[in-house]
């Protein structure tokens, strides 16, 4: 049977189409517009096209993500936590801790041996530890996001950011710029700050190997590097598929 997972995130909408819960036929990733409904439809159509199949070939559609209830063509919904857990287990069965960092949310999920969720923790209010933070800062430094992540790796470290909030962080960045701190150091400081916040959420569930990082920010090598340093253990990212697609995979795998 062919199933589809639609993950309507606060910034991006992802679709994954799977065959027999084993093989990925097609995917799509579009920016979430104001009209979720429309974006979901467009993303779904694009994934169908990539998979080279028709809508009627799809037996079951499951929605997840923050806008999961605005996918009228879905047969059912699944929560983000369960979808992320399932997807993570699919891409790396030895995973015990999932760290998901999307555009506005981050969470830590602890998995049992069989891939079911044992415990989870979500970011609290006023925690700016997510992707938008990176987006805003990259924009501020006038660097493309890919570049922003990369240069962090070449930094020495040592600069620190105190701000708790995206908005204030901007002015911290300004003051770092004023102090002539090089961009790579600023990038590193920002990544450290996010990793710090993400780690402090994930620590609530306890960190156990293997750790898999998913969600859009897992594309960011600077973040992964800071996170590794922060939690003191190796972290993995999915190797054959974009990390932000994992929750959509999990949705496609759901009953």
């Amino acid at each position: 049977m062919i199933s589809a997972g639609v993950d309507v995130g606060s910034k991006f909408t992802k679709v994954v189409i799977m065959k027999d819960k084993k093989e990925i036929l097609g995917t799509a990733n579009l920016r979430t517009g104001v009209d979720h409904h429309k974006t979901a439809q467009e993303a779904f159509d694009e994934a169908l096209k990539n998979a080279g199949i028709e809508k009627d070939d799809v037996g079951r559609i499951i929605a997840t993500g923050f806008g999961k209830s605005s996918v009228p063509f879905a047969d059912d919904e699944v929560s983000q936590v369960v979808a992320a857990g399932r997807g993570a287990y699919f891409v790396r069965p030895s995973t015990r801790t999932v760290i998901e960092v999307g555009a506005e949310e981050s969470r830590g999920i602890k998995l049992k041996e069989d891939g079911s969720v044992k415990d989870f923790a979500l970011a609290d209010k006023c925690a700016a530890g997510a992707g938008s933070f990176v987006d805003a800062m990259a924009r501020y430094l006038e660097l493309p996001i890919e570049e922003f992540g990369k240069i962090s790796l070449t930094a020495q470290g040592g600069a620190a950011m105190n701000a708790q909030c995206v908005i204030f962080a901007e002015s911290e960045v300004v003051s770092l710029v004023h102090q002539n701190v090089p961009k790579e150091e600023i990038s590193r400081a920002i990544h450290d700050a996010i990793a710090d916040r993400v780690a402090s959420i994930v620590r609530r569930v306890g960190i156990e190997d293997d750790v898999l990082v998913i969600g859009g920010l897992a594309n960011d090598p600077g973040f992964l590097d800071s996170l590794k340093r922060e939690i003191g253990t190796e972290v993995y990212v999915p190797d054959s598929i974009a990390p932000e697609l994992v929750p959509a995979i999990g949705a496609a795998l759901s009953e």
């Binding site: 991006f12 579009l30 806008g67 506005e104 987006d135 909030c165 908005i167 901007e170 710029v177 004023h178």
Partner: protein
């Protein structure tokens, strides 16, 4: 990975450069300059013998040194024949004041807004609300514009100019229009529950999904912000006359709500109130120059 399409920049507010063509600066004894390097905007004011002569109001870029250079040069260019050496005294203020290398002295934006407000609104002003890019300040002054007491919000960026910019972007409405639009509702809805800019975003998206029109969302958002502002003001105690400075004073949606909640009307500005800080700085610059000459 799909391309992140860069949207139109709705948050961009209009920049200005202005010179009083009726005056000849060569006649002046003291030419002082105030530069207010804020987190969002940079104003440069040139005063001739304590009278406003020229100003610029531009966005702060990611490098403040460039911003101030740019801002000062922009005014000088517009004036035409004034050179930097012609200025007797430069006072820097605002968030980035310490990074204006050519300033003779720095003074806080709190003192400068107090002084500048008295210049703009007259010496009956007692309470000033400065609503800027990243913070709110409630300032009480005496008739000379000297600060008697002040409070600043710090913990949270909610209720600040940057927050409104984020909202404008999110709703795809130009920043100059969010205020008027928010007044198009008959009655304000319940305020959004989170005034936090970051989380208000998801709340706003939620409201959009519920089918709320944009003006209603803005009304709810501004109401929440205004009540935070009023809270700050009441903590210093509002004494008339009351005036608002800073960029958000141009947002009628905020101003009207604040006035309503306080039950006090704000004075009408004769001069762009976003320049209050730089005006104050330039006035202090004049005083400091005169003092230095006496010695």
């Amino acid at each position: 990975m799909a391309e992140a399409v860069e949207q139109k920049e709705y948050w961009r507010w209009p920049e200005t450069i202005w010179v009083d063509e009726s005056k000849n600066w060569h006649d002046a004894e003291v030419i002082s300059c105030g530069i207010d390097l804020g987190s969002v905007s940079t104003q440069t004011v040139i005063m001739t013998d304590g009278e406003l002569y020229a100003y610029s109001n531009l966005r702060t870029g990611s490098s403040s040194l460039d911003s101030t250079e740019r801002a000062l040069n922009a005014v000088l260019e517009k004036i035409g024949d004034m050179k930097r050496e012609d200025i007797h005294y430069i006072v820097g203020t605002g968030y980035g004041r310490v990074s204006i290398p050519f300033a003779n002295k720095t003074i806080t934006e709190i003192a400068c807004h107090g002084r500048g407000a008295v210049y703009i609104y007259g010496n009956t002003v007692r309470t000033i609300l400065d609503m800027g890019g990243q913070d709110l300040k409630a300032i009480k002054v005496d008739s000379r514009g000297k600060v008697v007491n002040f409070l600043m919000n710090d913990k949270c960026a909610a209720g600040t100019g940057r927050g409104i910019e984020v909202m404008a972007d999110l709703l795809s409405i130009p920043i100059t229009e969010v205020g008027p639009l928010s007044l198009k509702v008959d009655e304000d809805p319940e305020p959004v529950s989170t005034t936090c800019v970051v989380f208000a975003k998801s709340e706003v998206l939620g409201l959009m999904r519920k089918g709320w029109p944009k003006e209603k969302i803005l009304a709810a958002f501004f109401r929440a912000m205004a009540s935070r502002v009023v809270e700050l003001l009441e903590r210093v105690g509002v004494e008339p006359d009351f005036a608002i400075t800073g960029g958000i004073s141009k947002n009628v949606g905020m101003v009207k709500r604040i006035e309503k909640m306080l039950g006090v009307k704000a004075l009408e500005p004769k001069i762009d109130p976003q320049t209050a800080g730089a005006i104050g700085a330039a006035l202090f610059g004049r005083a400091l120059y005169i003092k230095s000459q006496k010695k």
